[in-house]
Structures are given as C-alpha cells and as structure tokens.
Point group: C3
Chain length 359, copies 3
C-alpha cells in the first residue's frame, strides 16, 4: 500500500533522453517518454493490443509507438492509431501526471486529475546558480520505509560508515525530533569534536584547517511522502556552528528522493547539493564518487535487514528515542494512507434501523 | 493444460547422440535416449528406486541405466534389472510413443497406445534432395500460444525486425484468414514494392536484381497442435508473384515447431527450408545464422509480454483483424483440449429425473 | 521439522576466526562468534533494535556489536548496552548452547538448558596424535535425509564414482544392516577382488602392491541425529580383511557431519580421518583434494534428485535391501522427532466425562 496522491521522483532526464523508460513505481508499471516539444509523458506500460510493454517501443514524431505491432499510444492513454485498424473502441490506458522540474522527472501515481502542482517540494538549491548538485540512483531490495528509518537515524554512521563520516560522538549527542504537519525534523549538534575523514577532506577543500576542534550538525528533514533532506556540516569550533559565517564552515544538503517500487523494493535517488564552488564540476564528480561509495555501504545492511524481518514475522522491532525521526515519519505515512482509503460500508453486518429489532 | 494426443518435436537427433536427454514437454518430465539398434525411446525421467532423474544416467548395451544405483529401465517403462534385486514388483514408469522422422525426434505426450502415426505432419521439404533445411532451438520463457500469435501475425516484422525483413507495406496489406479443419491459413500479398534488406540479399544470392520492384508474399500455416510453417518469398514484379516461375523468384518455408514445456515456457525449434541451391552447405549455415539473429529479436519481446500479462491479470487483450490467424489457431487448440477432457458427471447438482420434482 | 535436542556441527573454527558468522541451522538463524577468552557463543541472528542480522556486525572487547546502530548483544541473548539507551526492557534473543570440540564448533538448536554434553559424539580419531583429519564443507540444496540415504547405501559408488572408488563388486556384495539404539550399522565385505583406482593409489602410498588381489570393506555407521562415519579400507587378500595387521592394509574413516539448514538444504561437512602417516600434511592436503572431487560428484545427483521428488509429489520411493541403512536411520529420526513433540490435548473433540452425556 502506497501513498498515491503525491509526487515521487521517477527518473533523471538522461534516463529518457533517447528512448522510453519502463519503471514500476508504487506498484504501477509506467512508461516514461519525451513526446512533442520534448515534454515528458507517462502512461501505463501495457499495450492494449497484446500486452507488450510499451517501454520496448520508440518515439516517432512525438508519439509513443509500440515496438511489437506499431500501435501509437497517446499521451493521455488513448490509442491514437494503429496501422490498418480503427482504434476508437480500444480500451484506455491509465495516464499519469508527470512534470520535469528541479532536474528530475516527477510522477503522481494517483489519479491524474487530482495531481496538485503545489504539492511539489520546494528545493532552494535547485535551479539556483549559487548551488550545485550531483547524485546517483540505486535500486534497493527493501521496503522504502526502512530507507527512511535509516536516514532519519544517523547513529548508523558510526557503524556503517565508520571510516568516512562515522564517529563515536554521534552516538553521544542525543537528537531531538519535532513534527510540523507532514514534515519531521530530527536534529543533532556536536560541539568541540574532531572531524572524521570525510569532513577533514571537505575542510581542506575549503581551505580550512582539518586538525582543529569543530562543531558538527545533522538536521534531517522528512517530507511526505518519502523525501529526506539532511543539512550537514562542520564549522570551526566556537564560531556559531550551524549559524557560523560561510568562511568558517563547510556545509551541504544530502538529498534523498525515495521512490517505492514494490512493498519490498525501491528506487533510491541520492545526491548532494552544496553552495560552495558551485561551478567546480570536478569537485561535483569527486563528491558524487565519494558519496556513492559511502551510500553503497548501506545497501547490504538494508537488504539483509529486509530479509531478516521477513524471516521473523512475529518479532516486533524497537522504537527508541534515536528512532523518533523514523517513527514520526511513518506516522505521517500511515495517516496519509488512511486518508486515501475509500469510505466503504461495514460489511458482514446487518443494517440497523432504529425501532426495528431483528429477531 | 496441453493437447496431449498429438506429436511434438522433442529434440534434434544430435541432442541424444552420446547420452540421454532430459526434457520437460507438455508438463511431463521425459528422458529420451537411443536404445537397441539406435532406436529412440522415451520414458518418464524418474527412477522408481529413489527418484533420481534417469537422464543423469547412461545407455549400456542398448538399455538405459540409472546413474545413481544402476537400475536398468526398459523402453516400455518396466524395470529390467537392478544389481542384487528382484524387480518384478517395481512400479512402472510411463513410456511415451516416440519416432524419428524428418530429421527430428517426435514425442506423443498422451497415452502411448493412442499414438497415431497418421497424425504426423507431412513435410514435403524433408527427406527431399531438392530441398535443404537448417535451423536451431531456443528455450523461451513464455506461453507457447504467444509464439503462435507472433508467427500468425507478421505485422510485427515491421517493428521487431525493422532492419531485416520488416517494411511498412506489411502493415498496409490486410491479411486474409481461412480455416480448414485443424489448419489455419493467413495470407498477405504485397505488390510493386521494394525488397527489405534480407530479401535484397536473397535476390542477389539467386542472381536476381535487388533494386527493382517486386511482389512479396507471406502464407502462414498453423497446424494443430502447435506448428507454424510460413511460405515466404519475393518475385520480380509482374511475373505472377507467388506463382512466378522459379527463375523469377526467391522463396522458402519458415519452419516453426513449437513445443510447450510449462504453461509459461516452451521449446522453439525454428528453421528454414529452401528449394534453391539445396547442396550449398555454406548457404545453409549463413541463412541459419541470419535467421537466428532475426528470431532472437522476438525473444525479449515475448518474454516481457508474458511477464506483463501475468502482472495485469485483469486486462483483456484485443483481437484485431491482424490477429485472426492467432485467434483461429487458439480456437482449434481450445476445441482439441475440450475433446481430450474426460467426461465427468456434473458436480454440485442433484441428478434430475423427469417427472420427479424436488421440493 | 528437525530434531532440535541434539548436537550438530555448526562450522569450522576458521569460519569464525576474524568475524561473526551467520548460518541457518535446523531452520534457526544463528550468529556464531568468539567472545571473551576466545570462547564461542551463538545467539539468534536478529538485532532486537531494528532486525538487522547481528552477523553483519563485529566483536569488540569480547562482545558482539550490531553493525547497524551499535547495540551490544550479550552471549546469553540479553542486550548488554546500546549508546544512549537504557536496555533493561529490550526483548531477549534466543541463545544457543555451543561448544568447540574435536576441531569443530557444535550447536544445540533446542533449548539451551536441555543441552547435554554427554550427547556429543565420541570421535576416537579426534585430538589423537596417531590420527590425522582433513575435510571440507559443501552447501547442498537437498533434504539432509537424502544425503544420509546416499551415505548409508554405497552401491552408488559404482555409478556416481565409477572412475575412483566405484566397482561392480560393490553391487554384488549384499550388505547387512543392524540397529543398536540410535546407531545403525550397514556393512559390506568384498573378498579377492582388485582395487579400484583410489585404493590402488592408497596401497601405493602405503608401499603395498596395487595390482594384487585384496579384500575390501565398508562399514557405515549412522549416529542420530545425522552423522555418518564410514570405516573403509582394503587389505592384501587372505590376511584377515578388516582385522588384518596394520602392515597389510590401508584404512581410514570417512567422516560426514550433516547439518540441516532448511527442509531442502543442508551443510555437508565431509572429511577423512586416517591413522597412517598422521604427520604428513602434504598427504592430508592431497587426500582432501581427491575426496573433494569425488564427493562433488554427488552434488548434482542429489540436488536433481531433490527437484525430481518435489516435481513428483505423488510418487512413492522404493526401499530395497540396499536401502536398509537409510530406512533404519530415518526410522530413528522419526522416532526422535516424535519424542520431541509437545503433548497437546486432542483438538476438535469434546472432553468426555464418564456418566455425563452431552445431548
């Protein structure tokens, strides 16, 4: 069960540059392609003729053509034409609201007419010349909510990423969590500590000393349905930490778009946005490579965790204070799922009329 | 559910040259081997002793020997001997009618005593010195009926095989379909067109010009249970097309023996029979290689179509006029399946006697 | 269903030398590790915090640490500590009795308090300077009972291992089987035969002629729950066979510890113990290599047998006199399984009181 009335990142623009892309999102098989004027469209990935995946086809004159027998599928899910056939009676495919923005293709898996542009997240760093973004995509075989838990509780850095961003002081600094509507914030501040290797490198890259005491922060933001953005950084100790002047700190935003595929798999669009040296492409590439290595350390853990949970269906998991971010995020997800449920009459119960007793 | 009372191609002779072959056909696990006098036999691939596959064994003195503990299985499914054991009480294996003919091993998955030699197809090109045949085998993970549909509707050539045998004019020439007993014929004729690359090559190979107008034909024959033979060819335009003199045309028969394995997989014996340059082995090899490449283009499409259909169990597929060949072929299959059903009393219903009312 | 109240070989010491090992045994996911003083411990491989496999973690100061968020798991299954958390209310993991002996790590999958040291097998060859042992481990996808059948009926050597230890005379010498408590013995003696290649090599290695008549023996011992030890050897003919003087024979013990994983897979610890040239490490390595090759010939047969049996659920297997060893071993297993069943009141039946009739 997935929140359907929300925007999810479906793919990066380069994934649909030359040909259609088939991707399952929130249980829906969808084909994404660029049609007329390079606009992106998304329809059910199923040819109404013989069930072939439309994503095996191609785009011709801005129209999606099935690669099996040439059916031309319209961007609204109605068959446009097919060689030698009258197509007016063909059953319609589901079409999906889709939009290209902030360097991503976004899809709304629910009803197209309900798609709400105002529900798109606001990303201050996107389309902003003072910022730069680099990232990648992992296909991960676990429930997307395990990834949310992972990102909303960064104590795992100490163990999973011990040689780059982990350090004991993370465990020692209790986080605080607050909820604002569909937004969860989990914050942790560490003062007068030494930077772990990744941040030492970042300090040097910004011409700051890497062997002095620093203040470090992690501010994890969950936004429904499933995006986590984490403000991370270090500042020379005693200069205000998170609020320190640009010249005294290095900071960036870890950007995570988490798109469910099935109940036990998801697409993980990870990346980093930074507002220093935004034009330095070499730095962007080097950060992407380093981040890719660090984030791939989570893969095995999350997939094995998923298997272990499936193998132990009767064991309940603990929700400790460090898990508050994940717990609150899941509460929002559950509330939104509940709100999407159709109202159905209670079954198996005789309708009661006042003053009438059923004997 | 499969038609059991029919001949299917089980394997090529070279597959059982040196050792037994285990193959599942119409849901039956069968071991094929050459016994006395090189005759081919087929029995259930299950050792009555401990259930080992007999196909892991070997043939000794014309008898099939289990490779686990040496049980000797007779060609009629009765255990012949076993070291140190009296075998008269051993349970029998099912034995299958099997015959070597036309360069193939054929099996009858139904009861052996019902096997009818007259039901073998007639292949004018086989064992005929004026003809030559070359082919191959693919193991395909889709319902064999999807392959029949594929071959009985050649409009897919325009899309799946666009660089070899496909051309727009196929779509434009409506096919006609007729049924004669258990035989379906779908025909398409194209006149005054230019040959696509594969046929240009064939014209040159027959010392005919490749850049002039031609007439092209496709005559697809479905024969129950699941064989499709397609007469294909091109003739210089205006010389009678299909009926043109040998010197004005190039033609051949695409030979497809489609043997079900499970409900969602089959063995696909493809090939080509030709009546020009029959002694030219180099040409046979070169045609086989080209055909193998072209036919492998169907594999991904068919397997992905199968998955897509399984993922969308509630979607009905369309049956257009171009699908008439497949539709009629499936009707014959359904009729033959129905005919094989044992007659059973209607369950869940009280037997009705005339003049007796149940109150 | 597995016998839980018994010792099984879990792993070799080298498998837990540097880091914890996760292994499923008798359906239980278990992590094995060396704690304080290098002692081996075993607990459920499931972190009570978020369900991560503890086997992805590490050992620090003799304690097992979860690699996800640093929970410290005690050797008794109670959480010892977790950074920033009070752990007294954490649910307990199952802990398993485990012991290191005879060069192996042994586990008792049943309740720890029931673990009985006296139930460990006695291995005369282990920890004995006059003997030497070498072996390996296979992960095999079949019911462990098929492996017991395999080892308790060595007629398969003639077919599966025809080029090394197999010979026709095995089939011709009927075995005798006797049962002593939870111990089954199947014996076979062959007199005045020639040695097959493996034993020729062994004779030469012991400076005995390899081309003269010999006596050969196989004495298979099954010990509950699932260990098979086979006394094998050859002696120069007429010197007493099994009882011949050391100088006239070559003999060894084939050691098989068979540890169930799931109903259709197991861990197979195979090896050979010998009491000649015990200090010759080169010989140990060469025997291990040869035995590994021979025993790997069983793998394909057993896994294909398992598949074939699953595919033919209605076929019963035969139990011939050669199978007596396996049959008797399975009877013991069934009896021990029955004995482990909890006594439950018969369900679906009204409790009857004398003199009271329920109307």
């Amino acid at each position: 069960m997935f929140i359907k009335n929300a925007w999810y990142v479906a793919c990066r623009p380069e994934e649909i540059q030359d040909k259609p892309l088939g991707r399952k999102i929130c249980g829906e098989s969808i084909v994404f392609y660029r049609g007329h004027h390079q606009q992106v469209f998304a329809v059910e990935d199923f040819c109404p003729h013989r069930g072939a995946p439309l994503s095996l086809g191609y785009v011709e004159n801005g129209e999606l053509v099935c690669g099996y027998h040439g059916l031309v599928m319209g961007c609204e899910g109605k068959t446009v034409s097919m060689p030698g056939q009258r197509v007016s009676g063909f059953p319609c495919n589901k079409a999906f609201a889709v939009i290209e923005k902030f360097g991503f293709i976004w899809v709304w898996p629910g009803n197209k007419e309900d798609a709400d542009l105002d529900a798109l997240p606001e990303l201050e760093w996107a389309d902003n010349p003072e910022w730069s973004y680099g990232g990648g995509l992992f296909h991960i075989h676990c429930d997307y909510k395990l990834m949310i838990d992972n990102l909303m509780d960064l104590t795992h850095e100490t163990y999973v990423h011990s040689s780059s961003i982990g350090q004991k002081e993370i465990d020692e600094a209790a986080p605080t969590t607050k909820v604002e509507g569909d937004h969860v914030i989990t914050e942790r501040y560490m003062e007068n500590i030494y930077a772990p290797p990744f941040w030492q490198m970042a300090l040097r890259g910004n011409k700051l000393p890497d062997d002095v005491l620093i203040d470090r922060w992690q501010r994890c933001h969950f936004y429904a349905p499933s995006n986590v953005h984490i403000e991370v950084g270090v500042a020379l100790a005693g200069h205000g930490g998170y609020h320190a002047a640009q010249s005294k700190k290095v900071s960036s935003i870890v950007v995570d778009f988490i798109t469910p595929e099935t109940e036990t798999s998801h697409w993980y669009f990870w990346g980093m946005a930074r507002n220093f040296q935004p034009g330095n492409q070499e730095l962007t590439d080097s950060i992407r490579e380093g981040q890719g290595k660090i984030f791939s350390e989570d893969l095995d853990m999350l997939e094995r965790q998923q298997k272990n949970i499936l193998n132990h269906p009767n064991r309940k998991l603990l929700m400790l204070n460090i898990d508050a971010g994940g717990v609150q995020s899941r509460k929002i997800i559950d509330r939104l799922l509940e709100a999407e449920k159709p109202i159905t009459p209670i079954s198996g119960q005789t309708r009661q009329f006042p003053n009438i007793r059923i004997i």
